[in-house]
């Protein structure tokens, strides 16, 4: 404090600074919220009118006919995410357990590094990789290939959440289990995973929501299907790809359907996110550690 500043002016300056910083924070928060609000508003305006019962129950109509829906794409998306989870969840959770409970220094560093790199890998790369590894040898796109591409994308996401959640299990629990003569693997399966299960489940749901919206990995692996798939070894429709196909098509009717599909996709992602939050929020014991 210099000699000229009286306590009164000093206080006013501090309050001004506080107000400025608060205002800056509010502006930033608004900037974060705006795109979501805009997207939601835009999708509702353009998509809601095309959303009706038939959208969820019918196949796309041939060019020139109005009506029809994306039932096959909606079901296809669920099938693809299910396949992806069947691959991504076991590998991801077991990998996370390895990192948190068994791995040591160097190996852990490499696995973590690899997972982080894979997390940042552009999704089109996954599409190409699976195209080369699966689609070409199997001589054709398939739901399997699409699910595999999405599953690969889920693995690093789930590895890291599982590891983080297990690391949060306090050391005192490990000691307690050790002192009861409980074998290590039983501690991991019955106590650590049980303690961390909500966090891991949340991570799995968020990873599923994330890959459910991916288009690029599917373009090479299962580039859509106008009809119901009869087998997982043939291409399957999916919402993102169907939206993409419709959106680049020349017909207004297709565009309307694309907007409706985007709206459904967004609400599915929203529902999973809210669901994940409910899981972590509910029955949370008070943190006494």
């Amino acid at each position: 404090m210099t000699a000229e500043t009286t306590p009164e002016s000093n206080r006013r300056w501090r309050e001004t600074k506080s107000a400025l910083v608060s205002a800056a924070c509010w502006v930033c928060a608004l900037i974060v919220m705006t795109p979501l609000a805009l997207v939601l508003f835009h999708l509702l305006r353009l998509g809601a009118s095309s959303l009706d019962w038939t959208f969820f129950t019918q196949l796309p109509k041939p060019v020139g006919e109005t009506g029809g829906g994306m039932a096959n794409a909606i079901v296809g998306s669920f099938v693809l995410v299910g396949l992806a989870a069947a691959i991504g969840v076991p590998i991801g959770v077991l990998g996370g357990i390895y990192l948190a409970e068994y791995g040591s220094g160097r190996v852990n560093f490499m696995v973590r590094f690899a997972a982080d790199i894979l997390n940042g890998t552009p999704s089109i790369v996954w599409g190409i990789v699976v195209y080369a590894l699966v689609v070409i040898p199997m001589k054709g796109a398939s739901a399997y290939a699409g699910g595999l591409a999405l599953g690969f994308m889920m693995i690093p996401l789930i590895i890291r959440t599982t590891e983080e959640m297990l690391t949060l299990v306090p050391q005192s629990h490990r000691e307690a289990a050790l002192a009861l003569g409980i074998p290590r693997w039983k501690f991991i399966v019955h106590i650590a995973l049980k303690t961390a299960r909500k966090g891991i489940l949340t991570g799995v749901l968020l990873a599923a929501a994330r890959v459910a919206g991916e288009t690029a990995p599917l373009l090479f692996t299962t580039p859509g299907n106008h009809f119901w798939s009869r087998s997982l070894s043939e291409p399957i429709a999916s919402l993102p790809v169907q939206i993409y196909v419709n959106a680049i098509g020349p017909y207004d009717e297709w565009h309307r359907q694309a907007w409706a599909g985007a709206l459904v996709l967004l609400f599915m992602a929203l529902a999973v996110n809210v669901g994940a939050r409910l899981i972590t929020g509910r029955n949370n014991p008070p943190a006494i550690h």
Binding site: S172, E175, A176, A179, L180, G181, I182, K186, H190
Partner: protein, 275 residues
Amino acid sequence: MTASPIIQPGQPPQTPPSRVVIPPPVTFEVSQLNVWFSGHQALRDINLKIPSKAVTAIIGPSGCGKSTLLRCLNRMHDMAPGARVEGRITLFGEDLYSSNVDPTVVRRRVGMVFQKSNPFPAMSIAENVTVGLRLNGVKTKSVLAERMERALRMAALWDEVKDRLRLGALRLSGGQQQRLCIARALAMEPEVLLMDEPASALDPLATGRIEELILELKEQLTLVIVTHNMQQAARISGFTAFLYLGGLVEFDLTSKIFTNPSQQQTEDYVTGRFG
């Protein structure tokens, strides 16, 4: 683990021969125990016999190796990276560190309670008590229920929780949680219970209940308790070991340690002149 700077007398003590005659049976016999953590010596040349069905208190200033000694008795150091244990410890004559002894079996026979209560938060009160049994293969419901009730009664917790066994363990108060941890250890029907400052995080009332409990338990098993609280050691233990700078200064009847110790360092410590 270094001695705190306020401790004045500088020389690590030489362990004198234990003068006290321990009435048989002896639970633990510790001979020439040395422990290092990453090169730092935490315990040196400990020789000690811990009597059965009695309370033995381990006292000494912070960092003197009390907890280290306790954790040698159920092989908790096996998991600690950089820990090295040399010497011999027998449990009822059986070498605890022999290569054909499974440390998890040792830990089932020698239970442990920690300074901070650590019930498993994702489990109910009942599940916490039976977890050790269940994860060691006991499946019969009636056996589990019976052992749970017995353990909770032994831990003087049954009457307080019998109507809410399905509730989460963290709904209990701090003192109740600690008694739950004692019940969890007792459910394994251990021959020994090790306690590492079991009451230091509790208020005087809860501490009193734990101390009563310890006095009741000594009728049935051997207890070894690390404590910072010398009044507590005097109240509850029959034997006291005084550790200083990783060495055993004196081991004797508690009454003798607190009234007429044979070592000057012990007298200085128990009278509050240092530590």
